[in-house]
């Protein structure tokens, strides 16, 4: 077994795992009852699935320029995904679209009820 074959097998495993995570996100988006839990499912292909597929692509394209582009994409996704999720979660909570019967603990409710800085 040559190094090329081994790299191809590893790349195939990474690609299939990433695609499986994408499918899991699709199922989760369809089945979960709440927007916050749907956001939990939505992060699967955004971070781990994408990184697995980028790793598989890097194994198939062993070239410095291509690997630099792939690392750039992965790093950018890692930086921006939490920011976007934070913004969406904040908008969801402020719009009151959270199902309270599904929450275990709601620490923001005390801040909303009273306190001087709650009016923003």
């Amino acid at each position: 077994m040559t190094v090329q074959t081994l790299a191809d097998i590893l790349a195939g495993t990474c690609l299939i795992s990433g695609a499986l995570l994408s499918l899991a996100a699709g199922v989760g988006l369809l089945r979960f009852p709440d927007l916050l839990s749907r956001m939990h499912a939505a992060t699967k292909p955004q971070v781990l699935g994408l990184l697995l597929i980028l790793a598989g692509t890097a194994l198939r394209l062993p070239n410095v320029v291509d690997i630099t582009t792939l690392v750039l994409v992965g790093a950018f996704q890692l930086v921006t995904a939490p920011v976007a999720a934070h913004m969406i979660g904040r908008a969801v909570y402020r719009a009151g679209q959270v199902r309270r019967d599904l929450l275990v603990v709601d620490e923001l409710a005390d801040d909303r009820a009273g306190g001087p800085g709650s009016g923003t």
Binding site: I16, I53, L61, T80
Partner: protein, 86 residues
């Protein structure tokens, strides 16, 4: 590698179909923007898998543009979504 290509494309196709169902059915705008974000991530996955399958690095620059686009889109929609009026 052909088997891997078929499996990966089938899985991504099923995922896109499920996400599209959520985009159509989603009761609120925020549901839809979460689903659109996932759709964009799956499209990025599909383009990267295509590049890996054909060993062709032409479409890799698209991935950078798509990730920037997804971030800007979801943040702006979340930023300007209407507040609650209660």
């Amino acid at each position: 590698m052909i088997v891997v290509g078929v499996i990966v494309s089938a899985l991504l196709f099923a995922a896109v179909a499920l996400v599209l169902v959520r985009i159509v059915r989603g009761p609120t705008t925020l549901d839809r923007i979460v689903a659109v974000d996932v759709l964009l991530a799956i499209v990025v996955c599909a383009i990267a898998a295509e590049a890996a399958y054909t060993r062709d690095a032409t479409s890799l620059t698209l991935l950078v543009v798509l990730s920037i686009l997804g971030f800007i889109g979801s943040v702006s929609v979340a930023r300007f979504s209407p507040r609650s009026r209660r």
